[in-house]
Amino acid sequence: MDDLAAVAPLAGGGFIVDVGDFNGPLDLLLSLIRDEKIDIYDIPIARVCEQFLVRMRDLALNEAAEYLEMAARLLRIKAHMLLPRHDGQDNWDDPRAELVRRLLEYQQMREVVDVLERLGEDRRNRFARSYSPELAPPPQAPLALSLAELLLAVDRVLRAARKPTLHEVISRSLDVDGAIITVRAVLALRAMARWRDVIRPDPEPWEVLSCLLALLELAKRNELRLAQLKPFADVEIRREFAGEAA
C-alpha cells in the first residue's frame, strides 16, 4: 500500500488502510473481517460495528451514502442481537443472516475478480495485429438485400394501411412516455438542450406536465442531468448516459 491516502495506525486495530483500496462498504467490511480474523458465520456484530464506524471516520467516508447505509444496517443488526432469546428456541432468525449472505456473495465475486485479473493481464501482454489491410473486415456482417424484398414490404404496408384507421377519442391524460421519447431523441442529437427544445411553443398544460415528469424520470435514471445556473435562467438538460440514446 502506498502512503498517499494512508491513515495512522488505529488504536484498536493497529493497521494501515488506504481509501483507494476499497470498492465500497462490503469491501471495507470484508477486509475488516479478514484483518480481525473473524469467522464470517459468527460475526461479533458489536465489535465489527464499532470498528466499521472507526474506519469510516478515519477514512473520511462519513459523507458517502453507501457507507452510511451500511453503518445503519450494522447498528440495526446490533440492536436486534440484543433482544432476548428464549432458551431452546430452534427457529431463531439470525439477524446477521442477510449480511452474511451478501458478504459471501461479494467474496465470491472478488474471487472471480482475481481470476479475471490474471487472465486479463496475460492477454494484455500479447498484441493482436493492429495493421488494418485494405480488406478490413466489415464492421457488421454484410446485408443481403434485394429490391424485391423491399417492394414486397411496401406491398405489405400498403395492404395494411388500406384498413381504415380508427381513432379512439379519450380524455387527455398525461403522456410521459411520449415526452421521454422526445427528450431522448433530442439528446441523441445533442449533448445539451434547453426546455424549449423539448417542448413545442404554446404547450397545453398536460404537455408541460408530461415533459416535466419525463425530465425528472430521466434524471432519476441518470440519463440526463438538469441544471439551472441562476434563478429564472434557462434550465439546462445535459445528456448523461450514452448507452440510453434513442
Binding site: 429490391l147 424484398e149 406491398d155 413545442r200
Partner: protein, 180 residues
C-alpha cells in the same frame, strides 16, 4: 529463427504501420545494424522458403508483414460470404415507409405500421441505411428520417426516383414474386 528475428517478427506483427530499419534497431540496443539487416533477411527467407501465407515486404518507408496477394481474393470472398444477415420483415417495412414517405417522423411511421418502430429505427440508423434528415414541426420537434446514400447503393439505385412508383408496384411485384 534466431531471437532477434523473433523479436522483430513480433514487433512487425503488432505495429499498425510499416517500421523503418533504424526504428527496428531500437527494439534491441545490443543489436548492430548488420544484425538487424540479417534478421530481416532471415524472416523474409523463412516466409518464402518455408511456405507461408504471409511475406515480408519493404514499402511505405519501412518493413511490413503482409498477406500474400494470391490469398487476398479468397479472404475477401470469405468475408463477403460470412453470414450475410437479412433484414427482418418489420425492418423492411419500416425502410419501405421511409423510402416512399421521406422525410417522416417516428410517430407517423408508427401510425402507418400500427406498432412503434423505435428499436428498428435505431438499427437502421446503425446500419447506415437511413439518416436523420431534418427536424419536424410540432411537439418536441420530432426527428425526421430519410434514406441514406448507402440505401441507394444496397439496392443498386442511382437515385430515389428509380424506385418504382407506388402505382407501378402491383405490376412490379407480380413480375418478380420473390419469397422473402
Amino acid at each position: 529463427m534466431n531471437s532477434l528475428a523473433k523479436l522483430l517478427e513480433a514487433a512487425l506483427f503488432a505495429s499498425p504501420r510499416p517500421i523503418p530499419t533504424d526504428e527496428l534497431a531500437v527494439l534491441d540496443r545490443e543489436a548492430s545494424p548488420a544484425a538487424v539487416q540479417a534478421a530481416l533477411e532471415e524472416i523474409r527467407e523463412h516466409y518464402d522458403v518455408d511456405g507461408h501465407g504471409v511475406e515480408l515486404v519493404e514499402q511505405g518507408g519501412g518493413w511490413q508483414i503482409l498477406t500474400r496477394p494470391e490469398y487476398t481474393e479468397a479472404i475477401e470472398r470469405a468475408q463477403m460470404a460470412v453470414r450475410p444477415t437479412r433484414l427482418s420483415g418489420a425492418a423492411l417495412e419500416t425502410l419501405a415507409i421511409i423510402a416512399y414517405r421521406q422525410p417522416i417522423g417516428r410517430a407517423d411511421i408508427a401510425e402507418i405500421r400500427g406498432v412503434d418502430a423505435g428499436a428498428i429505427l435505431k438499427s437502421l440508423l446503425e446500419r447506415g441505411l437511413i439518416e436523420v434528415v431534418a427536424r419536424g414541426e410540432g411537439l418536441g420537434r420530432p426527428l425526421m428520417y430519410g434514406t441514406s446514400p448507402l440505401f441507394l447503393e444496397q439496392f443498386a439505385l442511382r437515385h430515389l426516383e428509380e424506385l418504382p412508383r407506388v402505382d407501378e408496384l402491383a405490376i412490379a411485384l407480380r413480375r418478380e414474386p420473390q419469397p422473402l
